[in-house]
Amino acid sequence: MKKDEMMQFKSMVIFNDQISPGYCKIRLTAPREIVQSRPGQFVMVRVYDGIDPLLRRPFGIYDLGVFEPEYPNMPKQHYLEILYKIVGRGTGILQSLHHNDYLDILGPLGNGFTMGNEDDEKILVGGGFGLAPLYFLAKRLVSVSNVKVFIGGRKKEDILCVTEFERLGIDTYVATDDGTLGSMGLVTEVLEKYLSDGGKRRTIFACGPGPMLKSTAAIAELHGISCQVSLESNMACGVGACLGCVTKGSSHTEEKPDYRCVCKDGPVFDSRQILWG
């Protein structure tokens, strides 16, 4: 996306629903230009007009669409959706918003996923609300490529979007730490088993907790598969000005540091560009 297509806009809540204990999905009105957002890009949301909380919160785009008006002759309304986990004050306030409440949005920001070769099998690996950008990606990929999704979490409640992926006709592999859904253990173990047949040309896309990404990157490296990861970070500005969300790049050393901004250089990186600490 070109810089001049970034926007700051007031957005109205269309709905804001809990989708699993502790996780919500919110649909927000957006200008028509939002259709140019690419999977992997994010928005910075200001949940409150006052000074506490002060800063915006970053969220990956989960879906885009057009809201069909309830009455004839009403204009159609573009919208975007994000997923969030209720963790602190910001997301606590977000959860309390209702239909017709307003928030302020900045975005879309950052670099999205590179779609890659259509003939490659596309492997999506995610956990928690990291599934959000992967769902947006899957919707774009599924018409041209063979897509599989691997979803991991601590327990059943942390496994999001299975039905949504299945509705796209995508094979879904689930693993939970406690075995309450899917196989017991790490999703990366399931992934490794799946990849053991070798053979096919594949591309991996991952978004989720740090250890999951690290392990996915290692598996991709081992199998010689290209892998893109979408990183999460606390952010203040989201546009590369504050330098508060950096991550270590692959050539990082104490003497010659190599820091990359998650917001501006990412949030999507080739997994080989990252120094996995």
Partner: protein, 306 residues
Amino acid sequence: MKKPDLTVEIAGIKMRNPVMTASGTFGYGEEYSSYLNLERLGAIVTKGLSLSPKAGNPMPRIVETPGGMLNAIGLQNVGIEAFIENKIPFLRTVDTPVIVNFFGNTEDEYAEMAERLDKIPEVSGLEMNISCPNVKQGGIAFGSKPDNAYSVVKAVRESTIKPIIVKLSPNVTDIVEMAHACAEAEADGLSLINTLTGMAIDLQKRKPVLANITGGLSGPAIKPIALRMVWQVSRAVDLPIIGIGGIGTATDALEFMLAGASAVQVGTANFISPGIAEKIVHDMERYLVENRISAVRELVGALEIQ
């Protein structure tokens, strides 16, 4: 009524209005160019620059606190070579004064920076960050002792004919003393305040939140302290002052001007609303119209005390 006059002149730098961006919150200008018209700003102050590139601190570098944020970025910057090569070409296209914030590890480094910046025609003025540690003096900040401040400002003064603005740290016993030292060393202006040193703790982990342990507090939380310091310094020292600290609205900016600031810098608020500096200019103009004030300069130091 005629359009009110927003122009100000600080340390010989003519600005179309008193609203500048604070160093470290606005990158090198380009980062924000799609969100606002840079040519509506009074001046752009660029990210703190050093002789060689600086990588900055480990993560986490920022944390939000009530009404503010702590940062310990560690002065990460591209270094002067890359600044000249990659950042100046863009800034050259913008018809707004550029003030370059810079720092050094030693007095000699400050002087060398000033000498090099002196040769760049696109640079309208220099803003010295004297809050960083002097490596030759056991890491004591240049800006924490009047003698040291005097000496480093003097060294810079002898290295450039461009206007010098010294950015004062609030983490001192007496900021007025520091201001006097800078005036004596022939600085052309003062900007205040830099961030207040603070810290945040994670009770669960029993650890500091920032990797650097401490960080600089900015945002609305520090505004009352900044206002007080601007007021104190403006009464004591005959130098133009740029007010900084939690400015997010035209009201905030005008309060600083009443306290004695001739101009202001918008910092943390840029992170929240990238177009905020331009909005402040707009709202400031409206305030002047509504209150039949013909020039914003009339408000500088116009605080009424009994």
